[in-house]
Symmetry: C2
DNA sequence: CGAGGGCTTGAGCCACATCAAGAGTAGTGG
DNA sequence: CCACTACTCTTGATGTGGCTCAAGCCCTCG
């Protein structure tokens, strides 16, 4: 299932070699590892597989999702360059991960990672910070799914993408949507038709204009924020806007 | 807002005194601390407050929730005896916490807690395990809110409560529902009327019988599982059923 | 230029929300 | 002990947002 199985042994050795170096940030842990390439649609791992590795997303985007008993798919998040997947893993992956665009990742042995983190007091706060961010994102998503209507969900989603790039939180900014409408629908707990209709409505209201299938330009940022149904005030100030 | 503010200084001293003792499990950390009592409906802390403490629930139940801009409430979880609240906190509480029954808690300084965990290699895996469980629960909740219908939500909820007591996962078991219907509704993303109607329907189908306002007896456990819409198979075997 | 996949748009329907009333239960005070 | 009150829960009637089903459009790519 996991590609490049023959590759792992070499990586283990590379990981072990890193153990003495005491890197002071997570990214540094991964820096020396070879880059693996994923084509659009290719899987990184599957829900239920033994969780032997963590990954750093170097470039591109991934969707993480679960398939439920009736065959439907729930996307629980998207990952982008700079994100690390697997920090919150149990023995088995809780979800599947697939590339939604051409993507580059670095693979790290889970065992070596845990040893590394356990030995490095500098790294632990960073791990905890990422876990906390992940929890906060999950909370926000629960609020969205619990009680936002279609328009609020779509606006919240667009804002979330905007906020990944500080300085893009303003009218005139352009949002890239690397995922398909179906991905967005499965993430927002809507159908593809409702997402499409909602985008059209937002366009008719003059809040955004389409700029190709995977791109929209925000015309009225303030209105978008209002429509998102979030409180303007955020407990941690602008931290939510500064990205991870 | 937080009660017993005059009490904190003494606690800090108690916490510091613990630092030398190297406890080997989280519960042990809290064991020596005085118990604080919360009456039904009383708040433990509020969303946005500076997160200065963690709490161990010794007895009783809490709801954790957020109030959104239009005044609606989203309950993101319930806490029970043995749970620890605050492991995943940022500088400020992400949610409010209120007692839903008479509740006893122990309070631990966040700073001392972090020092303790940082000094104790035995404690860290336990912390991570709790964070992972919290993440897994959040994922499950997202799946529930994304695509389960009312009946599936209510059945999943009842099963979740049952699974807190190993051995109760069978026909004839009794489930305590310390929270109100409104709490359940706000947790499941439904209205109080829909929760009530769904419970009635399940009763009419012979799956459960009411045993007072805060108590139901499960008659057909297997059917309840089927109706919950979860896969029978769980990646980590019976772990999900063994409670925290 | 044709085929297939992704997206948009329309019509009708259904599950759940909303609105409204009434029944059951706990708590209070005389 | 009972009456009064307030709250929780249940049940019914009606409304509606988003889902389902269906068709057509628009890219992209061979």
């Amino acid at each position: 299932m996991l590609q490049a199985n023959n590759f792992h042994h070499a990586l283990e050795i590379a990981n072990v070699a890193l153990l003495g170096s005491e890197p002071n940030c997570l990214q540094a842990l991964f820096r020396k590892l070879p880059i693996e390439h994923l084509a659009t649609g290719q899987s990184l791992f599957f829900e239920g597989d033994a969780a032997k590795h963590l990954f750093e997303v170097v470039e591109g985007d991934l969707r993480i999702f679960r398939i439920i008993s009736d065959g439907r798919r729930v996307i629980t998040g998207f990952l982008h360059a700079g994100d690390i997947v697997g920090v919150s893993l149990k023995d088995h992956y809780l979800y599947s991960a697939e590339a939604i665009s051409d993507t580059k990742v670095r693979r790290f042995s889970r065992k070596a990672f845990e040893a590394e983190v356990s030995n490095s007091p500098e790294l632990r706060p960073e791990i905890f910070a990422r876990l906390r961010d992940e929890m906060a994102a999950a909370q926000d998503q629960m609020v969205l799914l619990s009680c936002k209507d279609a328009q609020e969900r779509v606006c919240s989603f667009l804002l979330k993408l905007l906020r990944r790039h500080p300085g893009h939180c303003r009218s005139g900014a352009v949002v890239e949507l690397p995922m398909t409408r179906l991905d967005i629908a499965d993430y927002l707990g809507l159908t593809i038709e409702t997402v499409s209709r909602t985008m059209t409505k937002l366009t008719n209201k003059g809040i955004l204009v389409s700029a190709g299938r995977h791109c929209v330009r925000i015309i009225k940022y303030g209105t978008l924020v209002q429509f998102s149904g979030d409180d303007e005030y955020d407990g941690d100030g602008m931290i939510a806007c500064a990205g991870r």
